[in-house]
C-alpha cells in the first residue's frame, strides 16, 4: 500500500514538473515572457514543500538540467541553483507550511530572488551573462501567483504529516 502511494506520488510529481518545464519554455512575445512566472522552479518549490521525501534535491537537479539543455546554457548552472533551492525549502518545509499564505508568498519571492541571484552569479563567473533587468521580474510574478499555486491539490501522499 505504502509502495503504491509512493509510486503514484512519483508519477504525479514527475508529470507536473515536466509540465512546469514546458510552460516555462513555451515561446512567448518578449513582453509577455518577462511577466511569466518561472513555472518549473515554482513546481520544484511546491513539491519540495508538500512532499520533501518524494521530491527533493533530485527533482531540482533534473528540472535544472532540463532547462540547461533546452536553453543551451552551460550544463549544470540551473541544476545547481535548483538543487540548492529544493534543499533549503525541503529543510524548512514544516516551518513554511504553517505560515499564512501571504507570508509564504513573500518567502517564495525571496527564494526565487535567491535562485535568480545564484544563476546570475554563476553566469557572471562563467563570463556569459544573459537577459537584462526583466529577469528579476520572474521572482515578483512568482510570489504573486504562489497563493493560487499553493492551493493545488497534491493528491494522496504517503508522508502526509
Amino acid at each position: 500500500m505504502m509502495y503504491r502511494l509512493r509510486l503514484e506520488g512519483r508519477w504525479r510529481i514527475g508529470l507536473s514538473l515536466a509540465l512546469g518545464v514546458l510552460l516555462q519554455l513555451l515561446p512567448l512575445p518578449a513582453a509577455l515572457a518577462a511577466l511569466r512566472p518561472p513555472f518549473a522552479i515554482l513546481m520544484v518549490l511546491f513539491w519540495a514543500l508538500m512532499a520533501p521525501r518524494l521530491a527533493g534535491i533530485g527533482s531540482g537537479f533534473a528540472v535544472g538540467l532540463a532547462l540547461d539543455v533546452y536553453r543551451g546554457s552551460v550544463l549544470g548552472q540551473h541544476a545547481l541553483a535548483a538543487s540548492i533551492l529544493a534543499y533549503v525549502i525541503g529543510r524548512q518545509h514544516l516551518l513554511l507550511r504553517t505560515k499564512p499564505l501571504f507570508e509564504q508568498a513573500l518567502l517564495v519571492g525571496a527564494a526565487l530572488l535567491g535562485y535568480e541571484a545564484l544563476i546570475w552569479l554563476i553566469e557572471g563567473w562563467l563570463g556569459q551573462i544573459r537577459g537584462d533587468w526583466t529577469r528579476w521580474l520572474g521572482a515578483l510574478v512568482g510570489a504573486i501567483v504562489w497563493p493560487l499555486l499553493a492551493r493545488l491539490p497534491t493528491g494522496r501522499l504517503p508522508e502526509r504529516t
Binding site: 539543455v69 533546452y70 543551451g72 552551460v74 550544463l75 549544470g76 548552472q77 562563467l126 556569459q128
Partner: protein, 274 residues
C-alpha cells in the same frame, strides 16, 4: 550530504562543459532529445505564421506579384551587365575562378527556434551533424553572411548571429580595403566597428565584406553596410554602426556552406599551404 553530491556533479558538469570538449557528445545526444520538444513548443507560432500567409489578401498578393515582376525585369537587366563586369573583373584579377565558386556545397536549413535578447542573438536550425554540419561553419542568408554554427546536435544546430554581442567577424571595407573587426550589438541587424581611428576613411554606405582572416569565414562575402559614422573630438576612435546585409529577422531560411579547401577565397587556416 545529498546536496553536496549533487552540487559536486553540477560543478563538475559546468567545468567540463566550459573548459573542454569532453561533453560535446553528451550535449549532442541531449540536444537530439530536446529537439522534438523544441519543435512542438514552437509549432503554435509556426502555425500562426502559416495561417497568416494563408489569409493574406488576394489584392496584396497581386500587388506583390507585380512588384516582383518589376524587380525581376530590373534584375535581369542588371544581371546582363553583371555577367560582363564579372568577366572583366576575372580577366583583371587574372583568376580562373570567381569568388562564387568558393562554395563547394550549400545546404538549405530552416530556422526552428530563435532567441533574441540584448545579450544573446541565436537561432536553431533543423540540420545537424548527421549531414556533416560542423562547429564554426559559415551560415548565409538573403545575400550576406548571418553567422556561424556554435553547437551542433545530431539533427539541429545552434547558430550564433553576427549581431550577438559575443560575436566578432573580421571584415574589410570594400571601397578602401581597410581591415577591421565588426562586433555584434545585441540589437536587430546592427553591428559595431569599435576599432577604427578617427582619421580613417569610412563613410555611410560603405560595404563591409568578410576579409577571410581568422580561419572561419571566407573572403569577399557581403556582411554589412555602414549606416552611421560619428567622429567626435572627445574620443580617439570613430563610432561606426553598420546594418547587416542579411536581415535574419525577415527570413526563415538560411544556408550552410562547405568550402573548397584550396580555393584562394576559402577561409585561411594555418595548415593550408599557400
Amino acid at each position: 550530504m545529498r546536496l553536496a553530491a549533487y552540487g559536486l556533479i553540477c560543478v563538475l558538469l559546468m567545468f567540463a562543459d566550459q573548459r573542454g570538449n569532453w561533453l560535446e557528445g553528451v550535449r549532442g545526444t541531449l540536444q537530439a532529445i530536446a529537439y522534438p520538444i523544441k519543435i512542438a513548443l514552437y509549432s503554435p507560432i509556426q502555425a500562426w505564421y502559416s495561417l497568416g500567409e494563408l489569409l493574406a489578401e488576394r489584392a496584396a498578393l497581386q500587388r506583390e506579384n507585380s512588384a516582383l515582376k518589376e524587380t525581376v525585369a530590373k534584375l535581369q537587366i542588371e544581371a546582363m551587365r553583371r555577367a560582363d563586369l564579372e568577366l572583366q573583373n576575372t580577366r583583371l584579377r587574372n583568376l580562373n575562378e570567381t569568388t562564387a565558386d568558393v562554395a563547394e556545397r550549400t545546404l538549405p536549413a530552416r530556422i526552428v527556434a530563435e532567441e533574441f535578447s540584448r545579450l544573446r542573438r541565436r537561432v536553431t536550425v533543423d540540420q545537424g551533424s548527421n549531414v556533416g554540419v560542423y562547429v564554426g561553419q559559415t551560415v548565409v542568408a538573403d545575400g550576406g553572411i548571418v553567422g556561424q554554427t556554435m553547437r551542433v546536435g545530431r539533427r539541429s544546430s545552434e547558430i550564433i548571429l553576427l549581431t550577438d554581442p559575443e560575436h566578432a567577424i573580421p571584415v574589410e571595407i570594400q571601397r578602401t580595403g581597410v581591415r577591421t573587426v565588426a562586433i555584434g550589438t545585441g540589437r536587430t541587424n546592427l553591428l559595431n566597428l569599435p576599432s577604427l581611428p578617427l582619421q580613417s576613411d569610412i563613410v555611410e554606405g560603405d560595404l563591409l565584406v568578410s576579409s577571410g582572416l581568422g580561419g572561419i569565414f571566407p573572403t569577399g562575402y557581403p556582411v554589412a553596410i555602414v549606416t552611421r559614422v560619428v567622429k567626435s573630438n572627445s574620443s580617439l576612435l570613430a563610432q561606426v554602426e553598420a546594418r547587416s546585409v542579411a536581415r535574419i529577422n525577415a527570413t526563415r531560411h538560411v544556408a550552410l556552406i562547405w568550402f573548397k579547401e584550396n580555393h584562394t577565397a576559402a577561409p585561411w587556416t594555418e595548415t593550408k599551404s599557400p
